[in-house]
Symmetry: C2
Subunit: 393 residues, 2 copies
């Protein structure tokens, strides 16, 4: 019996536990400190009433023999796949319901999709990055190359001739940086992937925060993407489903490698190792796309984006270099005074009683940068920005 | 870019689609036929009122800012892990809440657990079998050996000296056969696994159907199991959660291989590729273990077991060799008149208008056998048994 020895090569992340420890230590010696957390990556507003009502109705159906539902179709009920296809259509993107695979979230899908690829494939991952992209590939023993984000490219790395990539990760709007690729930039990636036969895993979890109509919200807005890309999306951020769990992958019919349709492989994976999303949750997700649901979730998104605007404009007024905060709930700023990520963390905690996330925690290229998020309370966010600016003066 | 070529070695299963086609064809030429389905593997009774109420209350909480829940702990909320630990205690089994990992179902866990093992491990799988055990290992390219079930061993294969196994699957009460291992039999397997360093993956999904107090309902009732076994269980069959999705794995603290604690590896897998079970569903699962919930689900289990009794006693009276049906919702019978599985399927469909599942669909050793299930309607099950017996006369 041998365990998967790749697990022993995983790096433990102490990012959030170190943050928690530092806050605790500071609070212990400054019991009156009014600390504002601007590092939170989770939503804070409740589920929309339309979603709650739909789930309660579905729960009632499950309690009656005539309307009870047992095992559902693994890729999701038609009613939800149809609703998602219509949502794509509303964004001007043509995706059929049969290309949509409903799941318990983008995190699960982004990890599990790797099952259908050979362990020898080379992987290209941007840095700074959402840590799960790296860890899931380390677990499979794959060789990882890094696409470097930096101030010069606005934390939007572009294809480079020396890359050898079979699998390419792109997240736009990006977590942690908030940077958003343009159509032209994504077109370069799509052309590159089609040329070398790579597959792009496109994480679109933050697409609902894009308000600029000239920016893409789906990789499938790009010509050629249907032969090289899989898109992952989720109800977590659009509708506050982080604790309700529903997402979906879109695998185009045309997408084939080695003579096999990737949609068929993914469906086989899911039918063998997954049993579908709770009926109740699927009814809740469907309600997101009703007129009433959309109106309610748009109010929530506007609340978060007002926070983002306050942070963005505050930093702008103080001349702090940053990306994000306009079409993204994340703001990625260059630490002032040449401070390192953790030095700035300590300074903000001590001098402003504001907590953010050190960029160095998202990869080597995050050193010297800092992430703030828009998921907090409106008045507290304003106060935090006021304190951050006061400290800079 | 290479796909995982192991996927191309998967056998397509046409079992249930062939059954559906045969029924459709028969019905087309016999429009008045009153067909009874005794092959269904899904529950049919609705969720217990206590579960429905708990989920509706949780949905309401999710709609209010003060009680909203975002990302939950990946291994499950303490309230549910504690409730499951108490359920184990009620069965006389000592398992701590920290050893319990809540998931979206046993099917997911039984597939995903393989991530933590090396692809070179040799696997021992009983035959006949739940097909996902085989497919998940084929996907990982593992070598599979078969533990043969047959009339002589009552479809309870035992360790044999020629086996070379690193990973051993045991399902008791068994799907598809309904056979239940005794303490002494499981002790043999546990001793065997401890001796050769193998890990037993114990599928306990049907434990709630065991009414005989002398039969084990958990592998952890067996001395020595804590150093060689992982147990998988689910709310699907105990409480009708097949469409609500909640299960759990129990990985004992003592279980180590290659110097690593398997619980820590599993937790790392889940924290990287999974984001927990919906809060609403976890509250529903918790309600199963309340006094009220237990009373309600026991009524449902009794309903199914009355069906099982009717089938079992009917076959007994006709002298048909079979296992299961006493401490299991499945009944596994030897086809009469020396018929093959599919021959008996056709005969029952045509002469009795009853549908079951050909045993050959569960592996080579299922040929000549046939599965009936207790998940149908009470009166319809009685009528089906009457017709089966009439055909045998």
């Amino acid at each position: 019996m041998k365990i998967n020895s790749n697990y022993l090569r995983l790096k433990d992340s102490y990012l959030f536990s170190t943050i928690a420890k530092k806050i605790k230590a500071y609070q212990a010696s400054h019991t009156d400190a009014d600390i504002i957390r601007l590092g939170i990556g989770d939503v804070t507003l409740p589920l929309a009433p339309a979603v709650v009502e739909a789930m309660k109705k579905a729960a009632d159906e499950m309690g009656v023999k005539e309307t009870f539902r047992g095992y559902g179709p693994e890729p999701g009920y038609e009613f939800l796949r149809d609703a998602i296809a219509k949502y794509y259509a509303s964004k001007g993107v043509n995706v059929s319901a049969g290309e949509i695979y409903v799941s318990d979230g983008a995190k699960s899908d982004l990890g599990n999709i790797l099952d259908i690829f050979d362990a020898d494939n080379k992987v290209l991952i941007p840095d700074p990055v959402y840590p799960a992209y790296v860890d899931t590939n380390v677990m499979a023993g794959r060789t990882i190359d890094t696409a470097r984000g930096c101030e010069a490219n606005g934390f939007k790395p572009m294809p480079e001739s020396h890359y050898e990539a079979d699998i390419i990760y792109i997240c736009s709007p990006n977590n942690p940086t908030g940077a958003v690729y343009t159509h032209a930039e994504l077109k370069e990636w799509v052309d590159y992937a089609n040329k070398c036969g790579a597959v792009i895993l496109f994480d679109a979890a933050y697409e609902s925060f894009v308000s600029d109509p000239t920016l893409p919200r789906s990789i499938f807005e790009i010509d050629g993407a249907r032969t090289c890309a899989i898109e992952f999306n989720s109800f977590s951020k659009i509708a506050g489903f982080t604790g309700t769990r529903c997402g979906y992958a879109v695998v185009p019919e045309e997408l084939e490698r080695g003579g096999a349709k990737l949609g068929a492989l993914w469906n086989r994976r899911q039918c063998t190792k997954f049993n579908g999303v709770p009926y109740i949750v699927q009814r809740g997700a469907e309600a997101v796309f009703t007129d009433e649901g959309m109106k309610q979730i748009k109010a929530n998104l506007a609340y978060y984006m007002e926070n983002a605007r306050v942070i963005h404009e505050g930093l702008e007024s103080a001349g702090v270099w940053h990306v994000g905060g306009v079409n993204s709930p994340y703001i990625w700023l260059k630490c002032p005074l040449g401070l390192s990520s953790w030095e700035y963390f300590d300074r903000l905690l001590e001098r402003a009683n504001v907590v953010g996330t050190p960029g160095a925690g998202f990869g080597d290229n995050g050193e010297g940068y800092f992430r703030l998020t828009a998921f907090g309370d409106k008045e507290r966010t304003k106060e935090a920005v006021r304190r951050i600016l006061a400290d800079l003066k």
